[in-house]
């Protein structure tokens, strides 16, 4: 039986209070690459999964090990989907969580992508590596409301062809005529017939009207910095470029200060922040 979970200030309330993780069961697990897996989760108690905005994240708890901030990578109103890369102890345990096992979830947290800013404009999505999962819910939303937006240009870069996530889905996106989806890798063998080069090498090919474009960028900080610079050079205004920042998190609700980035707390004010506001803290000297 399914029941609405009580909420506190928009946060889901678990049995032990608003910031305690709610147990979810892993319904399915897909290995995207050798160290990245996508998990579909459902509340153990059969409650409804809280809806989320594209770009928000949850704190996932690997019981007995620790918590990690992980972006929501599925459709905003569908099942809860997360894509996790095995790096440290926590993310390794989450990556390996088999179907039927339990993980703790608290969230969703953060502000998400400012979708409304894109209405009536061209939209550029630039993703590097694991930057694609947080952008996927946004892409679903853009495509669901396709007529509200101008051109949609996606540029996705990964280290090698083997490190691309959502491979099958990308082929479907690439086949669509109402969206342009470019994929590039840093290096490849002979079995790769696609583009090779960093994300910024594909941007000159992207078709958009710079003055009337909103760009959403997610990836390693270096990639985001150079992508933002390339977009500025093309004429996209700094206020129309949004980056999803990553900082170590503990509380995820603006109490502990762990995630501070300049004057912002990434968990509370972000993770999506306008380039115009954070450029000085990205090591960019001029704007």
């Amino acid at each position: 039986m399914s029941s609405e979970r009580a909420t506190s200030g928009g946060l889901p309330v678990g049995p032990a209070g608003p910031y305690a993780p709610v147990p979810y069961r892993v319904r399915s697990r897909t290995e995207e690459t050798a160290d990245i897996a996508t998990l579909v989760l459902a509340p153990v108690d059969g409650a409804v999964t809280p809806s989320s905005a594209p770009g928000q994240f949850n704190m996932l708890y690997a019981f007995g090990i620790g918590e990690a901030a992980i972006s929501i990578s599925g459709a905003p109103d569908g099942a809860l989907v997360h894509t996790v890369q095995a790096l440290g102890a926590t993310s390794r345990a989450l990556f390996a969580a088999p179907p039927g096992s339990c993980v703790g979830v608290r969230g969703p947290y953060g502000n998400g992508w400012p979708l409304e800013r894109a209405v009536g404009r061209d939209v550029v999505l630039a993703a590097g590596g694991l930057g694609l999962p947080p952008l996927r819910p946004l892409l679903y939303r853009l495509l669901a409301e396709r007529e509200r937006f101008g051109r949609i240009e996606v540029v996705y870069g990964a280290r090698t062809p083997k490190s691309l996530v959502f491979y099958e889905e990308i082929q479907r996106w690439r086949a669509r005529s109402d969206l342009r989806f470019q994929v590039t890798v840093d290096a490849a063998g002979r079995d790769w017939y696609g583009d090779v080069g960093v994300v910024t090498t594909r941007l000159p090919d992207a078709r958009f009207d710079p003055a009337n474009t909103v760009a959403f960028v997610c990836g390693p900080e270096v990639m985001m910095r150079f992508t933002a610079k390339a977009l500025l050079e093309r004429g996209v205004p700094a206020e129309a470029i949004f980056l999803s920042m990553e900082r170590n998190m503990k509380c995820a609700v603006g109490f502990c200060g762990h995630c501070q980035f300049g004057p912002e707390f990434v968990c509370r004010d972000g993770p999506v922040l306008p380039y115009a506001r954070i450029a000085p803290y990205l090591g960019v000297r001029e704007l």
Partner: protein, 156 residues
């Protein structure tokens, strides 16, 4: 391109992103020393260590630039597409290619005789300067890509 009229050859180069807006005398000279070539998928356009005798501008298709180390598989480090050019080894002594280039799609290029082009650029410094200003961003782009990769790999 030998079957094309001189006017058509010039128009072809003028339409190429790299040549667009370069001094007309230079474009005319380059067109006079140019050949049009086509490559099937998997065919080499140039090989590492061979003499760099042509300046190659890609018109259509896609070319993979590969590095090769004896103990490793071949690695594509960059792809080059329409409107782009293949390197600068033809301009710098000892005029030898430092990469392999292989067509990863059916490809058509304009290949300009490098000796003719070098002479022209040396004899007309203003044209040479304009040409270098076009070529340097190609080099800068490659360096930039490498820098991003190094920083992302956290090796610094």
């Amino acid at each position: 391109m030998s079957t094309e009229s001189p006017t058509a050859r010039i128009a072809r180069l003028e339409a190429h992103e790299f040549f667009r807006g370069l001094p007309a005398g230079l474009v005319r000279a380059a067109a006079g020393a140019a050949a049009l070539r086509s490559y099937r998928v998997g065919e080499f356009l140039l090989r590492e260590g061979r003499d760099a005798e042509e300046f190659i501008a890609v018109e259509q298709g896609k070319v993979a630039l590969e590095v090769f180390a004896a103990d490793r598989a071949r690695l594509t480090v960059q792809t080059v597409g329409p409107g782009e050019v293949l390197g600068w080894s033809w301009l710098l002594s000892p005029h030898r290619w430092t990469l392999d280039a292989i067509a990863s799609k059916p490809t058509q290029v304009v290949a300009v005789n490098a000796a003719v082009l070098r002479e022209r650029l040396a004899a007309h410094p203003e044209e040479g300067y304009a040409f270098l200003l076009r070529l340097l961003p190609v080099l800068a782009g490659r360096l930039h890509g490498l820098r991003v990769q190094l920083l992302e790999a956290d090796v610094l």
